[in-house]
């Protein structure tokens, strides 16, 4: 019965992610439909790739007439940040069986990473179990795929103003995770501020994928050094 309970807890923890994903997935489905990537293919892309920013990029590159090698290469670099996130999450969840963790990490995104590593309530209550992680990731995944389906199927109903970028909902979720985590461990505010400064600088000269990777690495490195000296 423990498994069912943990799975339900995981679904609950995934709810904010699902709430943030639905409007973006609706926007993606709509944009894909309008760009000639019709329902089965749009849903297939969401189900197979499950990485929002790169899917938007792929659709706009398709429209611009890019070839598959360009699109796949750009996707690789944009999503390379998941390597660092996966290493961090794997370290947090190292008590879980390896093969199952690898399988579940197919669903590792910026958002599932954020909740899995920074949800302080989860750490205080008990160590995250496999069922908890599965519930969290499957909730996020279901919202993404279902949102794409409805966005694509009901494109004519959805206003263009829904926007294609990341919505305020996910930024609010990130803030809602980061602020309490920093409050529990005050010196980490240095890491966050240094990383934001690097992120701002790097966004001026690099594309988004590399700017986030660069700022994360720099922020964590400088932060570790400063925190060690204190």
């Amino acid at each position: 019965m423990r498994i069912r309970q943990d799975f339900a807890l995981g679904c609950k923890a995934g709810l904010p992610i699902a709430m943030g994903y639905v409007p973006i997935a609706l926007a993606f489905g709509t944009l894909a439909e309008q760009s000639g990537l019709h329902l089965p293919l749009a849903v297939l892309m969401s189900a197979a790739v499950f990485a929002g920013a790169s899917q938007f990029m792929a659709v706009s590159m398709l429209l611009a007439g890019a070839g598959w090698i360009q699109i796949v290469t750009a996707t690789f670099f944009l999503n390379l940040r998941h390597l660092i996130m996966s290493m961090t999450t794997a370290e947090t969840l190292k008590h879980l069986p390896r093969h199952w963790t690898s399988l579940l990490f197919l669903g590792l995104t910026d958002e599932t990473f954020a909740v899995l590593t920074l949800n302080s309530r989860q750490h205080n209550a008990h160590r995250a179990s496999l069922a908890y992680v599965a519930g969290l990731i499957l909730t996020a995944y279901a919202a993404w795929v279902a949102g794409t389906f409805f966005g694509s199927g009901f494109a004519w109903l959805i206003p263009a103003s829904l926007g294609s970028g990341m919505s305020i909902a996910l930024y609010a979720m990130f803030i809602g995770l980061l602020v309490p985590a920093v409050r529990d461990n005050r010196p980490t505010i240095v890491i966050a501020l240094v990383s934001m400064a690097f992120s701002w600088l790097l966004h001026q000269v690099l594309d988004q994928g590399w700017a986030v990777v660069g700022a994360t690495v720099c922020g964590a490195t400088v932060g570790t050094m400063i925190m060690k000296r204190k």
């Binding site: 796949v72 980061l178 932060g223």
Partner: protein, 101 residues
């Protein structure tokens, strides 16, 4: 056909970085400096994802994203539930864009 190839290619290059670390990290003994560096990653990554991206929530109107972000920070400091934080930030952003546009 071309589209299927693109989707397959995107899936492969997206999933490899996701699944490799849990598959291989445990065979290697991590040095302690690396483990403590990894502990700092969530703070750094979230900060980098939030800023400056939040400024472009409403294209050309950074004040709207900032207002939504400020709402979220204040509510988070007062320990509001994460769903409340999200809903009120959406509301503030929505009101802000109605007022400005």
């Amino acid at each position: 056909m071309d589209i299927l190839l693109i989707i397959l290619g995107m899936a492969v290059v997206t999933h490899i970085p996701r699944i490799l670390p849990p598959a291989f990290m445990r065979s290697i003994q991590l040095p302690s400096w690396f483990a403590s560096w990894l502990q700092c990653i969530p703070y750094a990554a979230l900060a980098a994802l939030i800023f400056p991206g939040i400024l472009s929530v409403q294209p050309d109107e950074p004040a709207i994203g900032l207002a939504g972000g400020a709402t979220a920070i204040i509510l988070a400091i007062f320990k509001a539930h994460i769903l409340i934080i999200m809903i009120l930030s959406i509301l503030v952003t929505w009101l802000g864009s109605c007022w400005l546009v």
